[in-house]
């Protein structure tokens, strides 16, 4: 293994791998990415794969709109013949209360300012988009047809292939054990396969990012939390968009070849890195989803799995440098929506490292970890 690098990236999920590519694209040499397991083995592999632009804050809108734009042509850019399976079938978010309706109407005004043609559907219009939706208590829905989903596996593999061709070294099965610090800088990353002396470190360790930060003496206000998903056998086409209910807390989508995927958060989930399965989840998500989409009840569950949300206090990402260490760039705290903003986040992180102007200039002073001390939170009203 190389024992010297300009940049060591910790984490082989989409954020780490895309950041490696963005740095190499900017001419940075001697980049080493270390991953304790295999590529796309953590939250990237376990996410719901949706990409949503219907957000309620300017920052999340900028991050997601820029990312979707990049995803539209990413397979060509990365010369990945298989493609990344990007499909824009929309997000449908049903409304069940007046408060929710007001919030969505407010969001839509903001979203339209950013050029998104989001629709507010009346109850009688909802079935033209989701024919199987129950009208029970339904007061309407927000719908945007350019939201969608893509393969997290192929997206990460596409970034990895392009990064490797540009000279990036990827070390799988390589766990970070600690750092050697000098004058508030990391000078060496100690791994299970040996030491790597380096100028810069990127912490993109997802559910383990706060543990990595702690090794450098940095306290990050993050918690990791298990979230579970199930998938059914393929059945005939019942609905196309992602259906995401803030009232029930679930999201569900039918994949192009027929399986239906669904997930729900558990308000009583203890924090930690437990990734076991629970029967309780199967029952909960089945009850909630069939109450809104009764026709999916006949689909048979084939598999369930879990992954980690890495949750920040305002559920928005943390980027840039912490106060305590001058060369550990953070790309953490995505709170369950890292995959959908990976292109913008990795581009901005690479720009911060190379000292370029940022694609979103405000990111430097709005997404830094210092915002929590200053009390300048980015409070996102639309998260499940």
């Amino acid at each position: 293994m190389k024992n010297k690098a300009s940049v060591v990236i910790i984490g082989g999920g989409v954020i780490g791998v895309a950041t490696a590519y963005e740095l190499a694209l900017r001419g940075v040499k001697d980049i080493v990415l270390v991953e304790k397991n295999t590529l796309f083995s953590g939250a990237t592999a376990r996410c719901g794969a949706g990409v949503r632009q219907q957000w309620g804050t300017e920052m999340n809108l900028r991050l997601s709109i820029g990312s979707v734009k990049r995803y539209e042509t990413l397979a060509e850019e990365l010369e990945y013949p298989h493609g990344i399976e990007f499909s824009q079938t929309g997000y449908f978010m049903p409304v069940y209360s007046e408060k929710q309706q007001q919030q969505f109407e407010k969001n839509i005004i903001l979203q339209r300012k950013f050029g998104l043609d989001v629709q507010y559907l009346q109850p009688n219009e909802c079935r033209s988009v989701v024919p199987i939706v129950s009208l029970d208590g339904l007061m309407g829905a927000a719908y945007y047809d350019k939201d969608g989903y893509l393969s997290p596996f192929h997206t990460t593999a596409a970034y990895a292939g392009a990064a490797i061709r540009k000279g990036v070294t990827i070390e799988k099965r390589t766990e970070v054990l600690g750092f050697v610090m000098e004058n508030e800088r990391i000078v060496c990353v100690k791994t299970s396969k040996g030491d790597i002396f380096c100028d810069t470190v990127v912490n993109a360790a997802g559910g383990w990012s706060q543990e990595i930060a702690k090794m450098a003496g940095v306290h990050l206000p993050l918690i990791s939390e298990r979230h579970q998903i199930l998938v059914t056998e393929p059945i005939e086409r019942l609905f196309r968009p992602m259906v995401m209910s803030f009232t029930h807390g679930f999201y569900t989508q039918q994949e192009p070849n027929g399986p239906i995927l669904m997930g729900v958060g558990d308000p009583n989930e203890p924090k930690g890195t437990n990734m076991d399965h629970s029967y309780h989840f199967l029952h909960t998500v089945a009850s909630l989803v069939t109450s809104v989409l009764p026709a999916v009840g006949k689909a048979r569950v084939v598999r369930q799995w879990s992954g980690l949300y890495n949750i920040s206090p305002d559920k928005a990402p943390i980027l840039g440098l912490p106060n305590e260490v001058n060369n550990m760039f953070l790309a953490v705290g995505f709170s369950g929506h890292g995959f959908m903003v990976a292109p913008m986040v990795s581009e901005i992180t690479a720009q911060m490292i190379t000292g370029e102007e940022l694609s979103i200039p405000e990111a430097r002073y709005k997404l830094d970890v210092g915002r929590y001390d200053r009390g300048e939170l980015i409070v996102e009203p639309s998260v499940v």
Partner: protein, 95 residues
């Protein structure tokens, strides 16, 4: 079953051939989990009950190691398929 023939179908649920598996392995994705995620082999109705042993054999052949040295992937519940409407009716207790 002839695993030397690239056209042999290893995963019948997702229609994946020996040749496709080998191509992924040669790109450096050598574990059962990586292969499953990139080809969908083992993600279908049978959940790998048919293809898992065959996949392990293809990996072992490509890497020139005994099949016993290949890392297994996690078996995920449920072990038989269950309709969502049945799960919704249950009381949700773990026992």
């Amino acid at each position: 079953m002839n695993l030397k023939d690239d056209n042999t179908i290893v995963c019948r649920c997702a229609d994946v051939t020996v040749g496709e598996i080998k191509e992924i392995i040669r790109k450096g994705y050598t574990t059962l989990d990586e292969i499953k995620r990139l080809t969908r082999a083992g993600m279908g109705q049978c959940q790998g009950k048919t293809c898992r042993n065959l996949l392990l054999q293809v990996i072992a052949n490509e890497l020139h190691v005994p099949v016993t040295e290949i890392e297994l992937s996690r078996l995920r519940p449920p072990s038989v398929t269950i309709p969502l409407e049945l799960l919704a009716k249950e009381d949700g207790n773990e026992e």
